[in-house]
């Protein structure tokens, strides 16, 4: 493990003995925790196989319903992801603009939506927008709330990414006669996106989780579906259904994170890409500038 390098030297015999003792004590501690949890679960009868079977038994309709609700969650998340990436990019461009009349309103927009809770925005879209003549269905109410919040967060991520690129990159672009938008689109954005990919994906995971706030306004996503099942089958299955819902979220989010890591590896495996390699093969040996 790389993080061990900072804190520990290679261990001698006494150190190894201490680690063995610590491992044993830690192991007992973890086993005790697990045991306590199982005992508590068993005592209240939560471990009965019949209670857990509801999650997997197709004849109850629960697995199908959860998959359907996952579809509703993913739909809202995907639409909001695309919209907030596009609007976030526009806002970031506005904040990086040389023109003050463009910079000021975009900065204010970003700071406002970033500093306000998402739930407040969703409530606003739900309660206040109809008042001023904009009536949306539940899906779009949720998407509007999610987009308003996440576009501001992503705008800051994009902006930070572009500002983090070495100044020489931009100057070199200007030196060979590129215009500002060319420097931006050909030089800065590609590098910034690659560098900010982990942060962007972390935010998208957050967005996906935040679709669960749709339950507040009655959008029928995973969590609401879970609650509906608990009402239908009774609180006897409450714990199991919450665990099932949480497991679906965790699986989807872990898949998203793995996908991001794969993408990162792939894009960093072909660094400075084919163009650099074909014109100046000796550059490949040089360490990456970042």
């Amino acid at each position: 493990m790389s993080n061990q390098a900072v804190l520990y030297d290679r261990l001698g015999p006494r150190g190894r003995r201490n680690v063995r003792i610590g491992t044993a004590v830690g192991g007992v501690f973890v086993l005790l925790l697990i045991g306590l949890a199982l005992w508590q679960l068993g005592r209240s009868g939560q471990l009965e196989a019949e209670r857990w079977a509801i999650l997997l038994d197709p004849s109850t309709g629960v697995p199908q319903g959860i998959l359907r609700a996952l579809g509703a969650t993913l739909r809202a998340a995907l639409v909001a992801m695309v919209l907030s990436m596009v609007l976030g990019a526009l806002l970031a461009a506005g904040r990086l603009s040389d023109r003050a009349w463009l910079r000021a309103p975009t900065t204010a927009t970003v700071q406002f939506f970033r500093g306000v809770p998402l739930l407040l925005l969703i409530f606003f879209a739900y309660l206040a927008l109809p008042r001023i003549g904009i009536t949306l269905n539940l899906f779009w109410t949720l998407v509007v709330g999610l987009t308003a919040y996440n576009m501001a967060v992503l705008a800051e991520v994009f902006r930070a990414g572009i500002l983090s690129i070495d100044r020489g990159q931009r100057e070199a672009g200007y030196a060979i006669g590129l215009r500002k938008y060319q420097v931006m689109s050909l030089i800065l954005v590609p590098q910034a996106v690659r560098r900010m990919l982990p942060t962007i994906v972390a935010q998208l995971v957050t967005l996906l989780k935040d679709t669960s706030l749709g339950f507040v306004i009655g959008y029928f996503e995973l969590l609401r579906q879970g609650n509906a099942y608990i009402q239908f089958f009774g609180s006897r299955y409450g714990l199991q259904i919450y665990v099932g819902v949480a497991a679906v979220y965790i699986t989807v989010n872990l898949l998203l994170s793995w996908f991001a890591r794969w993408l990162e590896r792939r894009s960093s495996a072909s660094p400075r890409t084919a163009a650099a390699a074909s014109t100046a093969p000796e550059l490949d040996a040089a360490p990456a500038p970042d």
Partner: protein
């Protein structure tokens, strides 16, 4: 505006509830998160595993689901919590602890290996290395991400509105039901209350960040 002025006491008590919920949950998150980070960098595999499982599971679960666990699932286990406020503190604290753990861990990893090697070379013991070399630097690196977690936590406390806690968002929702004509103003007022917390915290953190920045 009128609706807010007429109900300023309700508004104020909502603001105080938001703040106190956030502060207590932040303390819990900080203590538990630091403990988890210590587990993760410890040389003991069982503790590392415990921290990894906790962080990955909690980080990828929506806060709303965690909150449902506290309010509806714990009573099924015979572990009901006395008040909604305590359930909120636990949900927010346990959830944020996973992110605090990651922030602290990345702070420790950001200290270059040469620092600890140099400390060992001049004969410092493990505790001394941690106390005088690694932790002072790590804590400073950790200030910005921890500050962001605090800001996120205050905003997340709004979910309490869905779980019977009368904080600002719940007040705004209630007032907009009784004063439908002033919904927009009411929500702007609530938004300003949050901005007062988040922008002030952001500004103070910026100052603190510059003050303690590690020059590398």
């Amino acid at each position: 505006m009128q609706a807010i002025l007429e109900n300023r006491e309700l508004f104020w008590s909502g603001f105080v509830t938001t703040l106190s919920l956030s502060v207590v949950a932040a303390l819990l998150a900080f203590v538990l998160g630091t403990l988890l980070a210590a587990f993760r960098v410890s040389p003991f595999p069982p503790l590392q595993g415990l921290a990894v499982v906790y962080v990955e599971a909690v980080r990828n679960t929506p806060l709303t689901v965690v909150w449902f666990f506290m309010v509806f699932a714990l009573p099924l286990l015979g572990l009901g919590l006395p008040t909604f406020f305590i359930a909120g503190v636990l949900a927010l604290g346990l959830y944020t602890a996973a992110f605090v753990c990651e922030a602290v861990r990345s702070g420790i990893n950001a200290v270059s290996a040469g620092q600890a090697e140099a400390a060992r070379a001049i004969g410092l013991t493990f505790t001394q290395t941690l106390r005088f070399v690694v932790l002072p630097q790590a804590l400073r690196t950790v200030v910005p991400p921890l500050g962001n977690q605090w800001i996120a936590l205050t905003k997340n406390s709004s979910i309490g509105a869905a779980f019977a806690i009368t904080e600002i968002t719940a007040v705004a929702q209630r007032l907009s039901n009784t004063n439908p004509a002033q919904v927009v103003q009411i929500f702007l007022g609530a938004a300003l209350a949050y901005l007062a917390i988040t922008l002030t915290s952001g500004g103070l953190l910026g100052v603190l960040e510059r003050r303690v920045a590690v020059l590398r």
